[in-house]
Point group: C2
Chain length 122, copies 2
DNA sequence: CGATCTGGTCACTGTTCGAGACCATCGACA
DNA sequence: TGTCGATGGTCTCGAACAGTGACCAGATCG
C-alpha cells in the first residue's frame, strides 16, 4: 500500500492496515501479545508482568484480542476461578512481522532519543 | 524481546519497543508516514489524503514526528504560506519493517473479520 | 471592497482512561 | 463461628484526551 499510494489518492477506511492498526496499535494490545508469546498465562500473571496496566484496560484489551481472534480464553470452573489466555495461530503469525518492527525499534531508539533531545534544546 | 521474555519478568518502561510504539501506534502517525512515503507533501495535501483527520491532530502528529526525527518540516516564507513535509532517512528506514506488517494486515484481514463476525453472533 | 487561500491555534464538548472500591465463592486459620 | 485472603472481573468517578468548528494574518483576485 505504501508503494501504491499516489498523490491525490485518499487513505479511506477500507484500508485494511488502518483497521488492523487501530486494534493492535493501542497502548496495551501489543504488550499483551508480547507477554503471551512464550505461552499460556493467567489474568493476574499478565497484569503483574506488564506492571502498569489497569485491570479495566487489561480486561478490555483481552476481550478485544479474543474477539479479533488473536488470543483464546479458557475458563476453569474452580474456586478461586482460573482463567487462561493463550495466543491463537493467528496471534502467533502476527508476531512474525512484529519482530521486524521490534528489531528496528531496538536499533533506532538511540536516533529517536537524539532527535528528541535536539528538538528539546532547539 | 518477544523471545527473551520469560515468565515472571516485567515489561517495564525501559523497553524500547514500548517507547517507539507509543509514538507511532496512535491513530494518525502511521497514516501520516504512509502518506509521506511517495515524497514531499504540504499540510493540506496530507489532510486531504487522509481524509478524516482533524487539523489539530494532524498538526500535533506532524510536530511529534518532527521531534522524533521521522519527518522534516520546511517553511517557505510566501503568501499564502507554504509548508512542506518530507520523510527523513530515519522515517524511510522505519517504513521498511512496517511493510511486513502491512502485508500481514492485508493477508489476514479476512481472518480477523471472520473472527469478529463469529464473536458477534456467539 | 470583499472573498479566498494557507497553515495553524483556541475554546468547547464528548469520549476515553486510570485508580480504586466492590463482588461472589471457597479454603485456611483462629 | 468469624473473617481473611485469593481470583477475575465490573462499576463509578474525576482527569486527560480527541474531534469540531470558529478564528487569524497577509496577500492576491475579481
Amino acid at each position: 500500500m505504501l508503494d501504491d499510494l499516489k498523490s491525490g489518492e485518499t487513505l479511506d477506511q477500507a484500508c485494511p492496515i488502518r483497521d488492523v492498526l487501530d486494534r493492535i496499535g493501542d497502548q496495551w494490545s501489543l504488550l499483551v501479545l508480547a507477554t503471551l508469546a512464550p505461552g499460556v498465562k493467567r489474568f493476574s500473571q499478565i497484569e503483574r508482568e506488564i506492571g502498569d496496566v489497569s485491570k479495566q484496560m487489561l480486561s478490555k484489551t483481552l476481550r478485544r484480542l479474543e474477539q479479533d481472534g488473536f488470543v483464546a480464553r479458557e475458563v476453569h470452573a474452580e474456586v478461586p476461578p482460573r482463567v487462561e489466555y493463550r495466543l491463537t495461530p493467528l496471534g502467533h503469525s502476527f508476531l512474525e512481522p512484529m519482530r521486524g518492527l521490534i528489531r528496528w525499534a531496538e536499533a533506532n531508539q538511540g536516533a529517536i532519543l537524539a532527535a528528541r533531545g535536539r528538538a528539546a534544546t532547539a
